[in-house]
Amino acid sequence: MELLIYGLVNSAILAVMAIGLSLTFGVSGIANFAYGGFYILGAYTCWGLFTQLGLPYLLSVILSMAALAALGFIFYWLVFLRVRGMEISEAIASFGVGIAILEFLRWWGFIGFYYNLPGFLKGSVEIGGVFVDCHRLIIIGVALALVIFLWLFSHYTKIGLAFRGVAQEERTALSLGINSDFTAALSVAFGSALGVLAAITILPTGTILIDKGYDALLFALAVGLVGGLESTLGVLLASLILGFAQTAVAVYGATHWMMVVTLGAIIIVLAVKPSGLFGKSKELEERV
């Protein structure tokens, strides 16, 4: 029972973390490695709006998402535009920006344990003899909602379809009237906004810390890749696998080996299925 509930919670956390990155990286093919930076920056923005300016919580969540989306949009035109199509340069340039954001915040004095976001719901409930705090249950809900949203978005909305088009054949998309730069900038903006949402959902379980930004990027990447890029179902499944693997180790074995098992799971899944669990593209094109 403990395994079930906390495994679920853990998986949900991973899924929520991964969804923003999955949108930019998986769906529209842009390696936005500044994700970790945006994730934390969004959390601090929300914290600032809520505690310093005293805005209502919902409003500050929405405002911080909007702010980071705008930032992501500008970020595309300043940085990505010139390195588009060169994946390594994309990754390095955006990772650099992510580090710069995080380290700048650190320098600015955002260290220590002052920074805390309120959960959506207080209190805890008992399920089958296990106490779970309500906020963690909400994370599960948010994760489900986001996964469904991502799937619908990338399959049924015009923008979502355009993201996928630009990712697959940029020039064909261009010749169909899709402004690829605008679309790509939008996808970075959406990804950042989702990252902020993830931060606001997850971070109330602890406190806001700079180093969480690096973790978020790593876990999001791991989940995205194990699941197979561009596959929403993959994100869900991968976060379930990794989440339950971690929790199972924690409950039955030594917590010690948690990270080892996670990394081992990643390596094994990718060694068996080189393009992730649900990676379609590589089956066609790249698997030799």
Binding site: R82, V83, R84, G85, M86, H155, K158, L161, A162, R164, G165, Q168, E169, E170, R171, T172, A173, L174, S175, L176, G177, I178, N179, S180, E230, K280, S281, L284, E285
Partner: protein
């Protein structure tokens, strides 16, 4: 054969350099409203570059090459379309003004389903128009309707070509550019496609297409140009081209 309404597209003295190599050398051609015009030439004659210049993809190529320090692309000349010079307009603007392109070797969105491909192609249209457009495409290519859930990468060459043309039609073009529609297809499918092209023209779409071998297309084209090494060496109606002895051997097969 068709009514002379006046040129919809006029290319004047178009020159394209890839670094120091001259890909298009002083190309001038015109396409009249309602015509089907063919550009014929062997590999590396500059057909695809011409199509890219008209559809605007060359601008994208130019920018990307410049960014990564590759070849410098220079485009000079004029492309008059509807009284406007399109030479440095971005592709999305040209699409909005009604130029559709089906690219060479049909690079469609291989990982999406057929229907999704068409939906993506309808990016500029609103929901109702997209549904109508898809219906029209299925009417034109009934084979696609059967395959609409299939992933595009798994289609055969002919089906992919149909899809590519269908996608270009989704933008509701006034001028449809088709680059090498018959490349690598069997004669039976070629004949089908030619018939479809004629149908498309009957809907009021002007068509400019390129091909290596002109014979299968001869029945439908109004006029044709022959290109060699980036230069237009000959122009005229289909029959005139066919009767030119020099060209006959090289491009039409005997």
């Amino acid at each position: 054969m068709s009514a002379e309404v006046g040129p919809i597209l006029e290319v004047k003295h178009l020159m394209v350099f890839f670094e120091n190599a001259l890909a298009l050398n002083d190309v001038s051609l015109e396409v009249n409203e309602g015509e089907i015009v063919g550009v014929f030439g062997s590999n590396s004659a500059g057909k695809t570059t011409l199509m890219n210049s008209i559809s605007g993809l060359i601008i994208d190529i130019k920018i990307k090459e410049a960014r990564r320090g590759g070849e410098r692309v220079t485009v000079l000349g004029e492309i008059d379309y509807g009284g406007e010079n399109f030479i440095d307009k971005p592709p999305s603007y040209r699409v909005r003004k009604g130029i559709g392109l089906s690219r060479e070797r049909h690079p469609i969105f291989r990982e999406s389903s057929v229907e999704e491909n068409l939906k993506i192609a309808g990016y500029l249209r609103n929901g109702h128009e997209v549904r109508e457009g898809i219906k029209d495409v299925y009417k034109l290519f009934p084979a696609l309707k059967e395959l609409k859930r299939r992933r595009a990468g798994f289609l055969s060459g002919g089906e992919q070509q149909m899809l590519a043309i269908g996608m270009a039609l989704m933008v509701k073009p006034r001028l449809l550019l088709i680059d090498e529609p018959l490349l690598g297809l069997s004669p039976a499918i070629q004949a089908d496609l030619v018939r479809t092209i004629r149908e498309i023209r009957q809907k009021g779409v002007t068509i400019l297409l390129t091909e290596q071998f002109a014979r299968p297309l001869l029945p439908v084209i109004d006029r044709g140009y022959v290109m060699e090494n980036g230069i237009i060496i000959l122009s005229g109606t289909g029959r005139e081209l066919l009767e030119n002895p020099e060209v006959k051997a090289a491009y039409f097969g005997t």
